[in-house]
């Protein structure tokens, strides 16, 4: 067998991992990316691909408790591991506070970056439970959003921090801000 043929017909290797609490086993090409394993083998299409250079962060998932860009991890590297994707974040029919924050604070528009953004924000709050605005903006540097201009994403993370800490610095009644603003502006 020549080298060329060896490359053209790569061997498949077994992988098994626990994703969102369910055990999966499959045979995959060694080059298969984790994001493609999740999307194509398991049908978990909530994890998105927005670039090919690990800039955009749309593909962020938890692997063994660490947030990773699943476009930059091979499925075989996750062998034996535990993965949580956006589909696994809500518990017992309740949104995670970060998901809720994005909804409350209009932290998304088209929603394409949102799964990765929520996962990164979730990981940020695990590291820093009550982050400053600067820490939030810095902590989300690995995730790009083209729609929101980030301000409401910051608010969403602050909301989640407030919920998780049983209060925090954020006023959950903040949604009324927009209406108050408008009320003062309807001046003609």
């Amino acid at each position: 067998m020549t080298m060329t043929e060896a490359v053209a017909a790569p061997a498949r290797v077994p992988v098994q991992m626990t994703v969102n609490g369910t055990d999966y086993a499959a045979e995959v090409e060694p080059r298969l990316l984790l994001v493609h394993f999740l999307r194509d083998n398991l049908g978990l299409t909530g994890t998105h691909v927005g670039c090919d250079t690990s800039q955009c962060g749309a593909c962020v998932v938890y692997l063994n408790g660490e947030s990773v860009k699943s476009c930059t991890v091979l499925a075989v590297q996750a062998n034996g591991g535990e993965v949580t994707t956006i589909e696994g974040l809500a518990k017992d029919g309740e949104y995670d506070p970060v998901q809720q924050g994005f909804w409350e604070m209009h932290g998304l528009q088209c929603g394409y970056c949102t799964p990765g953004m929520i996962m990164s924000a979730h990981a940020l709050l695990k590291r820093i439970p009550n982050p400053t605005e600067e820490q939030i903006r810095h902590g989300l540097e690995g995730n790009l959003c083209r729609c929101t201009g980030y301000q409401n994403i910051v608010k969403a993370v602050q909301y989640a921090a407030g919920q998780m800490n049983g209060g925090g610095t954020h006023d959950p009644a903040n949604t009324a801000d927009w209406e108050r603003e408008l009320a003062g502006k309807s001046d003609s």
Binding site: A8, G46, W103, Q109, N152, E181
Partner: protein
């Protein structure tokens, strides 16, 4: 109002959380790449590594033998079945030299990234493997990427029918001689060379399409990342594939941002349909980010020489503009309309300028096609005129705010015709927005602080920039936009159907569609209030040509102003029919029936009335209808507005420029926008946030850069600097509300305002910070290096 009818809570004006979000925050939103069809195969595209080359030959034999490969096709294989893509908006007499792309290049490639061959395989991985096995023999040709250089003698020629690479020579306003005379007569005269750099839309979801041909019915289904499914169907059927339009169905799944780039017809749309028919399998193509940056249509890219004349007291008397607009290697779907109708005719901005002449030369170059990108022509116009205002301020020694005040169109002037061929501006109070913005930002204090720092010789240079913008939204009136040669030879009306089902549930179908703007929420709010039915009983359907009336799609901030009005009018028709039916059921005269809060009743007797749900049931069972009344309760409207709408406002940016490093720190960004009446303020503010971020990013960070051999140097998100969370400020927003008389909701449109306003506000702020050092203008993006170099020059 009669007190005995329970008035439901009004939803218009409320910041209702979006009903779209639950699916999107849980990973359940279905985007193009999430669609999986039984038997679906995957396409990968071989793209040209050269910006300009002749294809001498292509050998696909090795690729065909690769594992999993179902087929490999080149331009020769498809040329008889798939026509070149159409250019729909041939503004400015471009008819004689239209060059549009073929789906796969035939003899020549015109840009890096031009599709040359397609592989279809069982998996994307296998398809991409096979690309490496295709051999193409190219003969390299000379390259030109700069629009102005492309028109000069000796430049490489791209197309035989376009001498000097000129797409069109277009002009508007008074004749050049008159404006030259006005310039000669002016007290103050300034000229400036201004570059509005090329941008990449960078929607987070790249583009793609899935084609499925059904041999049993002969029907094609296309799933596409589309801002305009009906238009795509029309162009595919009538122009590109030559198959009956009604045999094609186009579906846009959840679309992950567009910003204009998903309006256009792209090569992969007809190609996947053709491939599916050829191979008997559904075929998916989904760009990777590099392909998106190389080949999906880009924006801006103007080179402009502007000359302005003014009186000593700052009244602008003459404006002469010469712009070279780079349109890329071929014409994209509406490309020629952007630098002409949507740019040239908007250069007056908010100002009364008696003498304007605009020349625009559209140019072919060996670069990606340029078409509408968020704002589309209007950001280029606003940038130009707002820089001009500051140049006049510099030349006259007057405050930039004062220049604007002295030239504003006044509230009593509307409808106002700027004299350069735009439709009359509908309504506005420009000075109120300006004054309000300056009050909020503390303008006088900032000027005092700036003076102090300058006197102290501080290294932190303070700059305050403003832009008072006006833009044209709700792009529609067909009598204007449909005019061949000026418009695009088709209407731009919009459609809606409102149907009250037998059960009382309401389905609104619209020809417009969202790609992040929250149509499902906003349109349901609007319908709930107007029809008096519970919000949760209303469903908004869109994005599928099967089941929605023909519509032109979403762009140009037109969904609410045009599409929303179609819904409004459909609801009115439903209510009229409901009243007639109620009159029959209540044995009353139709003229005595009033409709309020979901109930039709004889004036003064609301307790005896019929609810809309009662009436829907009666209309559907249909056994007791007035003579001549058709069953069911629904109405369709095709709405063609009498005018566009013209949102406006003033944005103010405060920056600190580090004299030693050239770094720009945005200290504050404050915006006062007037988008007319607002349905959902949370959504409108979100649109403004995102728009401002994109406009600010043009000023400070972004720019698509080609090298001299036509390679896109900024070909990934590593090099093209779309902003991250820590690269943008908090936005302070406020509004004035000047309802438009154009539509019954008084809503103007908000999708593009932020982008249009922000770029000049930021650049004006940076230039303001350094203007006392003799710097009059800086070209974007204002990177630390560029600012630092300019400061070095100024210090020397």
């Amino acid at each position: 109002m009669t007190a005995t009818v329970d008035a439901p809570e009004r939803l218009v004006g409320k910041a209702i959380k979006r009903r779209e979000d639950p699916r999107l925050i849980t990973g359940a939103g279905s985007f193009l790449d999430d669609v999986r069809l039984p038997g679906m195969a995957h396409a990968a595209v071989l793209r040209s590594p050269y910006a300009h080359a002749r294809i001498r030959g292509i050998d696909v034999s090795r690729a065909l033998a690769m594992p999993g490969v179902l087929g490999v096709f080149t331009g020769e294989d498809v040329k008889d079945d798939i026509n070149p893509l159409p250019c729909a908006w041939q503004a400015g007499k471009v008819q004689n030299n239209v060059n549009t792309p073929r789906v796969l290049a035939l003899e020549k490639v015109m840009q890096v990234g031009d599709p040359v061959a397609v592989v279809v395989a069982e998996s994307r991985y296998q398809a991409e493997d096979a690309l490496d096995a295709i051999e193409v023999d190219y003969e390299e040709l000379p390259v030109v990427v700069d629009a102005k250089k492309a028109t000069e003698p000796g430049a490489p020629q791209l197309h035989d029918n376009a001498p000097n690479n000129v797409v069109m020579e277009w002009s508007c306003g008074k004749d050049a001689a008159t404006v030259d005379q006005a310039l000669a007569d002016a007290d103050v005269r300034v000229s400036q060379h201004i570059v509005n750099q090329r941008l990449i839309a960078s929607a987070m979801e790249p583009r793609g399409s899935i084609g499925r041909y059904d041999p049993g019915t002969g029907e094609y289904t296309l799933w596409a990342t589309s801002q305009a499914p009906h238009v795509h169907r029309l162009l595919l059927g009538a122009f590109i594939l030559g198959v009956p339009e009604q045999t094609i169905r186009v579906i846009a799944p959840n679309v992950g941002g567009g910003f204009g780039s998903k309006i256009f017809m792209y090569f992969d749309m007809p190609l996947v349909l053709w491939l599916s028919k050829k191979l008997g399998r559904p075929v998916k193509f989904f760009e990777d980010r590099t392909e998106n940056y190389l080949h999906t249509a880009q924006g801006r890219d103007h080179i402009t020489d502007v000359e302005v004349g003014a009186t000593k007291d700052g009244k602008i008397t003459a404006l002469k503009v010469k712009t070279w607009a780079n349109l890329g290697g071929y014409l994209s779907t509406v490309a020629p309309g952007i630098p002409t109708t949507l740019y040239g005719r908007m250069v007056a901005g908010c100002y009364k300028i008696p003498n304007i002449h605009v020349d625009v030369t559209g140019v072919y170059t060996n670069t990606a096609m340029v078409d509408a990108y968020r704002g589309a022509g209007r950001p280029e116009a606003a940038y130009l005129i707002e820089r001009v205002c500051d140049l006049v301020a510099g030349a006259t020694g007057l405050d930039p705010a004062e220049i604007r005040r002295r030239n504003f169109i006044q509230p009593g002037d509307f409808p106002y015709d700027t004299g350069i061929g735009m439709l009359p501006y509908d309504s506005g109070d420009y000075e109120r927005a300006l004054n309000h913005a300056l009050d909020l930002v503390g303008y006088q204090d900032l000027r005092a602080e700036q003076d102090k720092r300058r006197q102290n010789g501080s290294d932190k240079l303070l700059g305050v920039g403003m832009s008072s913008y006006v833009e044209v939204c709700g792009i529609a009136p067909s009598k204007w936009i449909g005019l061949p040669g000026e418009g695009w030879g088709a209407g731009l009306w919009e459609s809606a159907n409102v149907r009250v089902h037998l059960t009382g549930k309401v389905v609104v179908t619209t020809g417009s569609l969202p790609h992040g703007q929250g149509h499902e929420t906003t349109f349901a709010q609007l319908t709930a209030d107007q029809l008096g039915v519970p919000y949760d009983d209303i469903e908004v359907k869109h994005s599928d040509t099967l089941g929605t009336p023909f519509g032109f799609g979403s762009y140009g901030s037109r969904s609410l102003a045009v599409g929303g009005t179609a819904i409004y009018k459909s609801v009115e028709k439903v209510k009229e029919k409901a009243k007639l039916l109620a009159a029959h059921m209540l044995e009353a005269a139709p003229e005595d029936i009033v409709y309020e809060n979901g109930k039709a009743f004889v004036k003064g007797s609301p307790e005896q009335g019929k609810t809309i749900q009662d009436l829907a049931l009666a209309a559907h069972v249909g056994y007791d209808l007035p003579e001549g009344m058709e069953p069911t309760l629904e109405a369709t409207t095709f709405y063609d507005p009498p005018n566009c709408t013209f949102p406006f406002g003033t944005h103010v940016c405060v920056v600190e420029v580090d004299r030693n490093t050239g770094e720009v720190d945005v200290l504050r960004y404050l915006a006062v926008d007037d988008v007319g009446n607002v349905i959902n303020p949370m959504i409108v503010d979100g649109q403004l946030h995102g728009g401002i971020a994109q406009g600010l990013a043009q000023a400070l960070y972004e720019g698509a850069v080609y090298n001299d051999i036509g390679e896109l140097v900024t070909g990934t998100m590593n090099e093209y600097a779309i902003p991250k969370a820590d690269m943008v400020p908090n936005y302070e927003l406020d509004r004035t509300v000047t309802p438009t008389p154009v539509n019954p909701m008084g809503a103007k449109g908000a999708g593009e305002a932020g982008t249009i306003a922000a770029t000049p506000a930021v650049v004006n702020a940076v230039v303001d910070a350094v203007t006392h050092l003799g710097i009059r203008h800086l070209d974007m993006p204002l990177t630390p290096e560029r600012v630092w170099r300019s400061l070095q020059g100024a210090s020397a």
